[in-house]
């Protein structure tokens, strides 16, 4: 079975020239992206509008005509339209992950076909497309790696791509993690100057007295990601750790 995943938006800017141009590009990229996927059995559209809202806008905007082929391609397939907050990475990621999880659970339970996932990353807002890419890669690497690596009887193959102006750019299928942990990362601030490991553990224990071995957990988390280094019982923030700490501080996350 082949499924085609895509983001899709429609621009409503007041600047008419800009809006017409962007909408024309959006519809062309969708058509190219769908063409690149070839024959698929199912399509999932992630859009920042519901289908009703989208169709309404298409009839209202003067350049809406350019989306008639887009809608015709969508309606001629077995499709699902999912309203998704494509300008917020976290919201979009969570939504897409859940939708794809349901699809993969049902696929794995049905039990006989291989699954080809074609992902069109050309459309929609870039943050939404990035979240589509990351959500699918994370889910499949985390929960379905046996199928991805073909260690099980049948397999999952993923083809993420960007398609525009007849240029198809393939993106890699790699194991990216989606994680942030400000609760641990804030402790980099203690380590801007070198500190004895025991002193550090004692200092952080005050914050989370009920969590067993909290200091060890913090150290393990930060060391694994290269944010701190240790030598002879002394730990200190690395350049990478300091940079992350300053960024989180400036963003008000810690």
């Amino acid at each position: 079975m082949k499924i085609f995943l895509t983001t899709l938006t429609l621009y409503t800017y007041e600047n008419e020239d800009e809006r017409i141009n962007l909408n024309k590009e959006e519809s062309e990229k969708f058509i190219e992206g769908a063409r690149n996927a070839g024959d698929y059995q199912k399509m999932i559209v992630f859009s920042d509008y519901s289908m009703e809202e989208f169709e309404e806008l298409v009839t209202t905007l003067p350049e809406g005509e350019s989306f008639s082929e887009v809608l015709s391609i969508i309606k001629s397939s077995d499709f699902k339209w999912i309203k998704t907050d494509l300008i917020n990475y976290e919201n979009s990621y969570v939504r897409i992950y859940k939708v794809m999880e349901d699809i993969l659970v049902s696929w794995s339970e049905r039990g006989y076909e291989n699954l080809h996932i074609y992902m069109n990353l050309s459309c929609g807002h870039k943050i939404g497309s990035l979240s589509l890419y990351m959500a699918v890669l994370n889910l499949v690497h985390g929960e379905y790696y046996g199928y991805l690596s073909r260690k099980k009887g049948r397999y999952i193959r993923i083809r993420p791509y960007h398609s525009e102006r007849s240029i198809v750019e393939e993106l890699p299928v790699m194991n990216f993690h989606n994680e942030s942990n400000p609760e641990y990362e804030k402790y980099i601030g203690y380590l801007l100057e070198p500190m004895k490991i025991e002193e550090f553990k004692k200092a952080v224990r005050k914050d989370e007295a009920l969590v067993k071995n909290f200091g060890d957990k913090v150290i393990m988390h930060l060391r694994k990601r290269g944010y701190i280094s240790s030598k002879d019982g002394i730990i200190v923030a690395t350049k990478k750790g300091r940079t992350l700490y300053y960024v989180l501080k400036k963003l008000g996350e810690i």
Binding site: H141, S149, E170, P172, N175, N178, L244
Partner: protein, 215 residues
Amino acid sequence: MRLLSTVGWSEEIVSYVIDTLEPDEIILFYGFVSEKDRNRIRKALDLIRARYPSNLKEVQVNPMALGENFEKMARWVNDESVANITGGTKIMSFALALNAAMRGIPIVYVVTDGDEKKIFRVPITFSEGSKNFFRIDKKDSIAMRTLKILVNDFKGKARFVKIKERLGNISSSSISDAKRRLLMANLIREEKNGKEKIIIANSGAYLLLSRGDVK
């Protein structure tokens, strides 16, 4: 701190990040697809340069060529970098985001709502763990060597038999297994020319090979 930022039509989304993060050094990646684009992007770059004249570098990229973006941007990613992926084309933003994820440096983007702006973090990092098609940190693995030979010796396109020859005394099954893994990772594609198999590097190959080559 070194701010790496993709730039498109808007100066504001870059300046806002500079004002917030106060980096010591700014690297701007820009590129045009049309004359109209050129004028608007040039204007944005000039406005940024006027506001932050010192320690600012402009790096031109082809905004539609992912592989080139991977290579050019990787040279500027170091442990003190932060990536702002808000401006520019999707190709540019993806290239910067993935380069940053490979090095584990912070990635941010700006959301504009009317006159309000807010910076968010994209918390992605590459996992070197076992759930990968091959060990990327092992530069001498057959898969990594195959990629290197394909890109460096054959400019990204070669007959598979030629790559086998260059790999030397390695069993056919090991080479085929490496090729299979590279195909699954979408780092290469295979085409047939009559009976011959041609291997072509996808853009992701350049992401892997340019990792760690920093200015």
